[in-house]
Symmetry: D2
Subunit: 343 residues, 4 copies
């Protein structure tokens, strides 16, 4: 059994990790930390876990965590970069769900996250945990930077097109819609039911932290600069991301449906829908899956890719467990074969 520690178990990615790991056949949840709720039973905070998780939140401590095989950070940005080095030194693998190790350039990180990076030397070592791109590296990694939710949906939408050279790279537009759980479990007025229900808005149009991450990922694949406009929107629902991505096709491109189907043929968690489909976020809710459809409106030279994930699963906790499976040599789908609720 893999001994697992979770740092920051009280947020939504934390409880989602617990939901998945509690039924994972090869995992023993060894420690779940929370500064704010230490001493409280986990299932008191999250009654959905009653009967499945018997843990009590404890204060994070280096000793207790050092006893794990792998530690997940489900913490706000800025925590993992302060604790990771010590864990790695003791042979503990680290999977960070926060943004601390996602960007390769510490200067860019500082620009977007507003403080100096504490462990810049780990940025190069960290493997960006998008298995559809970095599977081989993930298998041997000690430190995984799990992709953000928006970046997962947008990169999976664009990979086949960029890898095949089908689109122009100067002017890609990603209009992305997210449920409110993406904003986390924080006592803040703008994410109240009364503020977000029955209404819709864009936010951070001038620049969002996931923009440099998406750009870095696309440029790594493209091998050149990519011009990207990214606009996130807050949708009156809890879970789900829908990326609508627009790009201009180069002449002579191949059949797009075939291109996508072949690219993702062996991917266990990317599902290319039949031609003409429009994915619903519902159909991937609660499951580690990206469903994608590709369109050419009115047969023009603009390609529109529709890509949906559950922001807390393929966009966070599920993808983290997928990475863990790869790192420990397990079947990649272990503990992740479930079906979305309909309706």
């Amino acid at each position: 059994m893999i001994r697992v520690g979770i740092v920051g178990g009280t947020g939504y990615t934390g409880v989602e990790l617990l939901r998945i790991l509690a039924l994972h056949p090869d995992v023993a949840i060894t420690i779940v930390t929370s500064r704010s709720d230490a001493g409280k039973r986990v299932d008191e905070l999250y009654p959905n876990l009653r009967g499945f998780v018997d843990a009590v939140f404890v204060e994070p401590s280096a000793e207790a965590l050092a006893n794990c095989d792998v530690v997940f950070f489900a913490t706000p940005n800025g925590t993992a970069m302060r604790m990771t080095e010590a864990l790695l030194a003791q042979g503990v693998k680290v999977i960070d769900l926060s943004a601390d190790f996602r960007l390769k350039d510490p200067a860019v990180w500082t620009q977007w996250y507003g403080e100096p990076h504490i462990s810049p030397h780990l940025l190069e070592e960290a493997v960006y945990g998008l298995p559809e791109v970095n599977r081989a590296l993930i298998r041997s990694a000690q430190l995984i930077a799990c992709p953000g939710c928006y970046p997962t949906s947008v990169q999976l939408a664009l990979l086949p097109l960029i890898e095949s050279g089908a689109i122009r790279l100067e002017r890609i537009i990603a209009d992305v819609k997210s449920g409110v759980s993406g904003a986390g479990r924080k006592a803040e007025i703008p994410i109240l039911m009364s503020e977000t229900g029955e209404s819709l808005k864009a936010y951070s149009v001038k620049g969002h932290r996931h923009w440099p991450e998406i750009k870095q990922g696309l440029e790594q694949v493209a091998g050149q600069a990519v011009g990207l406009t990214f606009v996130p929107h807050l949708i009156p629902m809890i879970r789900g991301i829908h990326a609508t991505v627009y790009a201009e096709l180069n002449v002579g491109h191949s059949d797009l449906q075939v291109l996508f189907e072949e690219r993702y043929l062996t991917e266990p968690f990317v599902d290319v829908l039949p031609a003409g489909s429009h994915p619903d976020t519902r159909n991937v809710r609660g499951v580690n899956r990206c469903q994608i459809a590709v369109h050419r409106p009115l047969a023009g030279n603009t390609v529109v890719i529709l890509s949906v994930i559950d922001n807390l699963v393929k966009g966070a906790a599920g993808q983290a467990v997928q990475n863990m499976n790869l790192m420990f040599g397990l079947e990649e789908t272990t503990g992740l074969r479930s079906i979305g609720l309909y309706p």
Copy 2:
């Protein structure tokens, strides 16, 4: 492997059966029928099932169904009572999720369902599939009448009180709130998003079909007449039932928290919450579980029981599979151990 047939696979209880049975280790889905969608792939209608269910809807036929070990009816009322006898005659077990076999008295059935009962002789043979009451009978049954969603939530709320004689039986009030999926997948204006979103209403106050079913179940346990007022409400959400049940305590009653905990101590799918709790419907969404809390407001002689289920799982498809497990001698929880999404 148990060969399973599903009649009426296009409704919400049908797709929910498919979601559960597709991952059930001892089941092979042999046939899924639909008159309206025959010839269409099941996962075309329900893309959440892609990769898990490979079936195509077929017209219902006696021959194909006779080849099953068990047939689930997820049909509108009035279908199962026309097909069950032939199936039973061929040794096929039947689990009916509709209302056809729930009431023992054919006259009462006719009064509430508006037509004569086609197979009144089967009403006595049918076992009411509430395992918390009828577990032994279910194990040996050939025909199961799965309880309605409202009746499941209300009966589980009242069982410990009635069995122990703790409450007066003349005037029980069940104020029950349901998500919209309880109304089914039907093209009807009153259940449109625009009609049900951001609004709330009671319905069928003058009398609802689940009233005689609840009354029959309570009276069987009580061994005498029960006075019941039942008011259902339509809530702007998709899944979930919350029953708020009010009764008057007899003098000299025991500790209610202990009473409930002891009654449900060994029940795998009924979870009595700690004293003072208020269950959320969310915490049982997608799972076969009833969470219950019991209160005495201001220490008076009125007891208030709060009982939540997912109407499509413990209130329908999950309970049906629980019955199947019992009928086939499997571990009762097989295929039903899952955790509700939070948030």
Copy 3:
């Protein structure tokens, strides 16, 4: 023009007052206070008011408020009781939307609100602002205690029955459902979209602050003790209250539909629906109106009353303006004639 001041303009009852008063033909909004947002334009916080409200939030000050004809308190409990006496002394009328003056007995107030009452001598002077009961007193009042949202919906449901002696008073049950805006505009995790969306729960079953208020109101009408069980529920919608009230009929009661229609015949804001109706909260959203239906399920001796209001309008700001109209000798409906959105 009536010079109006609003203390606490940043909460939901505050912005609702502004929405109504900005179009009221006889009102000039003179001052809107907020400690937290002083110096900020009101329409910066509430862009729905752009072009209609030109005010800037200011710190509350006795001098500025003394210049008003009437001051509305849309503040948390405990503020109005500290400022009202000084305002009254300067001839300013006060309409309090908080709970400070709703209960007549200071000991009961302290028991439920957790601190001594600062101005107990004003409790007797304050008029409970339910025009359907106290219209004459309101006309000459200097200090109005606006009813709570739950108490408004429940009392209007019961008035005709209690006044006419139609029901037994020992065991009334009020099962009430509220949208989330009733919890106010506070940075608290339990009212996040992710916590309240797509889910439903009861709360404060052991005892809610509106219980003594409802009880006091009913007992004043009845002239004797009333046994009341009151259970509030949180519903996944923003606005709206639906009270479902249960009582036992005395023998020989009159026609209930006629009883309600006659009682409310001349009430401008209480609308008795045709027999057999089920009111939707939607139909009163945004408007100062209570819609009521009365039922006898299965022709038994239990009466069920369904009563809907918008918690922020007839349950708060609209009722406050209705009181103001009465206090200043205006037509009672001035500024309040609007139609609910459908859908």
Copy 4:
């Protein structure tokens, strides 16, 4: 008083017209037609109108409608083009909220609406009822084609940029999100609460009927061809449209904030928000208003315009009344000065 007839009063644009016109000081609602509900009181179907609309639905008849000064068509596509000529011949003005007269080219109309146009000669005469473009023509028009909801939001977002030549016209992208009421009041499974709640999807990506309408409108302003990609999305809310529009700036463009503010300075129903704003659809819900913000993400050469309306008001019934006011020489804002609900 203007004698008004409404053909097709049972849909959502019909009831919205009734809500607005019932409080319009210069209007008498003379006739409301419905084939399906003839003989039924209007307020029986729409209880929000109780006390405000005393009409009974009648069968549509030429005689009754000929007695009106103006007739609104709130009908499915294909009805108005069959009845308009006769009404115009009798001197009745016509305001069509359907799509029958929106496109100038009958061949294009046929291509998108699937049948020959019955009154192609009226297409030229019809004035496209977007007052921000055609105010002068509207004043003297006999026949108004009210813009679609999506086209209103997108055209208002682009007008200042196209008129001023600030953007390149070859590749404009309009990613637009709509509440479910835009799909109308029809008994169809895809718009059930259970199908649309808590989920999000794009639809009609290959080509939507509003695409030629938007393109025609933009090209009329530009005086040249415009390349437009338009993708509509269905959002889990009832009312509201949010257009997110992307275009490439020409070099040397002026200050965009000033450009928008000046363009809409005197427009009563277009509100340019302060620089850096993100409009919520909530803030215009129920009111005839478009709120707009303009951004240049990361100071690049892509302009992003955010434009919100209520699809049933500025996107339908409100705009229709705005047109009526202009046609009858009334103050343009008559009956339309209201404030959106918050929250």
